[in-house]
Subunit: 343 residues, 2 copies
């Protein structure tokens, strides 16, 4: 009542329609902070036939810290811009107090590019810890689509969940390794084979690059043998992830990488794969939105006056446990859980 | 109907009451997998006056990878065992496919101890990525309490959220640094000062240990000056976190560390701090349980036959967006959100 924001869903929509970068930046901040009405803004954007016409081609990059992902993002962005494609970059940074300065250094180098017309960069802190996507990063990518970026680059540090999360957000997933990542084959075993559409051996001027590329190709070949023998008749021809060697900070190999990304896209479009990936992504999105809203509703119910204080008092007097108190709040909301019972 | 588990809430409760390690291990697996009835098991444990009598003293350790936390856990556990206190260890491991073998090596060294009578160790994968606590780790700690471990050690890799999470789970928080962690002061600025009850400078036989300890003490002194000037009259005397130097793999300094842990506990008990921490923890627990159950309910509603398929069809035909579909499911559940509206 006392302060009124100058932004409304309508003004932000108009700003994004009009190609105003400032409106996009403000909309991202809205979504990051989950300001009241952010769901409506996002729904309106996706519903608007003008804005929701052609989602951007999304390329996700993941790999260990220090693999040179930011340099690759820079090279790919320059390539897309040279092709006349506007580029949105979402860089998900680890939020560790212990992490060194290397990631920040990369980020600064990438920011040099950000003054370029047609390029927009946003960094978000990873939800939790090193790796993974940020909270509401899917929503920010929706905003990128709506703003009209025809190419979207998503950069994450590849630890833990982030591979799976980036695979859920991108059309093309690039796994970046370097000759020093001696545990590459272990990484391949740990599920990266399943999500990688492209492998990049970066810092390929260092010893061991050829050997690493060979190891990856061998592993891919073995895997292909396994799956193709069981392929259904009429299935689309399998995509065999290319292994591209780059020296990203000198721009070497980036043209080949751009070609590989384009080839992967053509393959997806020709065989209905892109459509299937988008449908799978929509399912993930519905699930994510539902879980977020359920969490928000639960939080609101606990924040109602007196609710928490009374629960804590009962626990202190040993007349309840956190489980029975949570259960009681859920039941009051009408969310009773059939599986559950009180002791 | 076809397979029946030999375990029920009743048999597990009886087993835990009877001090059977196997029953504890099976109960942990139940909780980790969120098998039907796990909430009831936990509620019953906490409600049972025999089992819920005296929760264990919880010590959390956090710090950068390679700081020697596992060696410290080993030393502390040996010390507690020598004092006749049974010890439960919860080690939260990063789940990165890229992480090296060092952590695994530590774990193996710790496992040597695990055959010792009175010691139980469980490793859990961190939720998401490097650091943080594991999914349902609070619940596993409840099981430790109920089993009667009078000392509980919680080891996490200190990145991102994990400091805050370990502070929410432990009575005494130990931040472990090593002379090489050159960014120690940066770490101190990043919020560790607020959560650390004890600082450990491990690998204190290496150059720079004294300097690091001095830096920490100076930072603590500056901070103390800030806070004590504004202290309320009658407030308990402030706890000044001691800085203990250790060479954990040789056991040096561990006795001093055990003394410091005991002193912190006496200070907490004397000034009502332990009670307040436990109450704050109960509040966090209620919130966590509510959010988890809300998420589970949302997931169940989406998994009902046809719900997801119909939503995806509407999205494909551009008659809905993930936002409107999620909203519709929430409304059907009666969880309408007043803040929200459809475009």
């Amino acid at each position: 009542m006392f302060s009124r924001s100058p932004d409304s869903v309508g003004t932000l929509l108009a700003g994004i329609r009009g190609g105003q970068i400032a409106a996009l930046a403000r909309a991202i901040t809205w979504v990051e902070n989950e300001r009241a009405g952010f769901q409506k803004l996002l729904h309106s954007l996706l519903e608007d036939p003008f804005l929701a016409g052609a989602p951007g081609a999304r390329v996700g990059l993941t790999g260990p810290p220090g693999a040179g992902k930011s340099s690759l993002v820079r090279g790919l962005a320059q390539g897309f811009l040279a092709q006349g494609e506007p580029v949105g970059v979402l860089a998900v940074d680890p939020s560790s107090p212990f992490s060194g300065g290397a990631l920040l250094g990369d980020r600064i180098r990438l920011n040099d590019l950000a003054t370029h017309e047609g390029l927009f960069l946003r960094s978000m802190a990873a939800r939790g810890s090193l790796g993974g996507l940020a909270m509401n990063s899917h929503e920010v990518l929706d905003l990128y689509d709506a703003f009209g970026f025809s190419r979207i680059l998503i950069e994450t540090v590849g630890v833990g969940q982030s591979e799976l999360e980036v695979a859920g957000a991108a059309d093309t997933v690039m796994v970046v390794l370097v000759p020093e990542s001696g545990d590459a084959i272990q990484a391949l075993k740990a599920g990266l084979m399943e999500i990688a559409d492209l492998f990049v051996v970066n810092k390929a001027d260092r010893p061991g690059a050829d050997a690493l590329a060979r190891e990856i190709r061998t592993a891919l070949h073995l895997r292909q043998g396994e799956t193709s023998s069981g392929a259904a008749p009429g299935a689309p021809p399998e995509w065999i992830p290319p292994v591209v060697q780059t020296v990203a900070h000198r721009g070497e190999g980036v043209a080949e990488l751009l070609d590989a990304v384009a080839a992967h896209r053509r393959w997806m479009e020709a065989h209905g794969v892109l459509e299937r990936r988008r449908s799978a992504r929509a399912a993930l999105r519905i699930r994510g939105i539902l879980e977020r809203e359920a969490r928000r509703a639960a939080r609101r119910s606990l924040d109602a006056p007196g609710v928490l204080a009374q629960a804590l008092e009962r626990i202190e007097r040993r007349r309840g446990t956190p489980y029975s108190e949570a259960d009681q709040i859920l039941r009051a909301l009408g969310w009773g859980n059939a599986e559950e019972g009180k002791g």
